[in-house]
Symmetry: C2
Subunit: 226 residues, 2 copies
DNA sequence: GCGTAAATGAAGGAACGGCTCCACTTACGG
DNA sequence: CCGTAAGTGGAGCCGTTCCTTCATTTACGC
């Protein structure tokens, strides 16, 4: 019973004032998430939107619904970035460009940084679409990796899941440094890209089981960065 | 007025029952911090120690005092690890071994992982000693880096502060994967070490200002990993 | 033993965040 | 216009966490 989740929903449309408020809430949530991460208090979002807290809860009964509404566009852009990287003529450039681009998206939006390291159970259509975009990006990523290896640019023992760990690491860096050294992530990522290059690559520990990483992303809430 | 901070303090010694409780609190805090990070609720620690919450607050008026008491030994080991790495005959092996060792310490203790990415204002002797050990490790680290560069193993454009970002990244990885893929950090670190090697190194973005990273570590609390 | 200062923890205050109730307001079809 | 269903937000409940108060218990010097 999560009510109407989109202005163009098949359900009975919202009254004009309600639709206006819904838009304001989503916009406020986008700003608040970007600045403070996915766990911003609801009352902060309500305050920014100029509505009561109850209105936020009425329109978005759980955090996942609000997150899905707030990040719909950004997740679309995320999936499109993967598709574009795939179209890049030089596969290794496509690979590097994609990694840089996604990490840059994380650095510009703390909520998005978090979002890329967490999955949601699809409790409503908006959340499901979010996860679909994630899946689409992932499928393209597998191809990006395959072609980058074939081109000789990417080391052969690179595992697609290495990107998940990279995103988690980058989310940590971005969260910690956003206020004080907002470009710190770039150097870290360039180090990683140089490590991913085929030249001079040396043996690595085995990657974690894919299942384990999926479970990692399924963690609901946890506190970690002190 | 933060009471007696060590059983061997110059102040009037604790009564035997109080000393026993203090020891139990520190032991409980070590376990709780290791499992759940630096922000474990005080009542959780009190419960584990089998004392009332008030007793914890009486002995350790603020979180920093308790953290300092709980991590005294580990910070000593941290400083010693740097000194030992310095004694290693092959400077590049010393460098790699130290990075691996410190990251392993982070992976084994979520509280310690957090601790290495945060500094505390020295409000009492125990905290001051903690920060002294951190400083000692840092001084040795500068030498480790210098010698590793001189030996030709470490790339010349490596900056000592790169380790801070690495510790932040690793803390994020460890926090996210501890429950599900506890060895995930190793592969990430090996990638980084290969990137740090002198062979085939390519240009990097400039590192952030050192001041900015110090300010980063001075952040008090923040929530980030969702 | 015993008097006393030290030590204790149950209880409670204050701040916060999620979430709900419900009396009041507003849009909008007729 | 106006009746009504939709919409709203202040007020308040519940759970959590930090921290303090204070009546009771305990260790220890004599």
């Amino acid at each position: 019973m999560w009510g109407v989740t989109s202005p163009t929903s098949p359900e009975r449309p919202l009254r004009t004032d309600a639709a206006r408020n819904r838009t304001a809430i989503v916009a406020a949530a986008q700003r608040a998430f970007a600045e403070a991460g996915l766990q911003v208090p609801f009352d902060e979002i309500a305050r920014r939107a100029g509505v009561g807290e109850a209105t936020v809860h009425r329109r978005f009964p759980d955090r996942a619904s609000l997150i899905a509404a707030a990040f719909g566009d950004k997740m679309t852009a995320y999936a499109e970035a993967a598709a574009q990287a795939l179209a890049e003529p030089d596969p290794w450039q496509g690979f590097c460009g994609y990694v840089r681009r996604v990490c840059a998206m994380q650095s510009g939006d703390r909520g998005f940084a978090d979002l890329l390291t967490v999955t949601f159970a699809a409790v409503n259509p908006a959340v499901a679409q979010l996860e679909e975009h994630r899946g689409s990006a992932l499928r393209d990523w597998l191809t990006i990796v395959r072609k980058a290896k074939a081109s000789g640019g990417l080391r052969k023992d690179f595992h697609p899941d290495d990107m998940i760990v990279l995103l988690i690491a980058n989310a940590g860096v971005v969260a910690a440094t956003a206020a004080t050294a907002p470009d710190a992530w770039q150097r870290h990522i360039e180090y990683m890209l140089q490590a991913f290059a085929a030249d001079n690559s040396r043996p690595l520990p085995a990657p974690p089981a894919h299942d384990a990483l999926l479970r990692t992303m399924r963690r609901t809430q946890s506190s970690s960065t002190p």
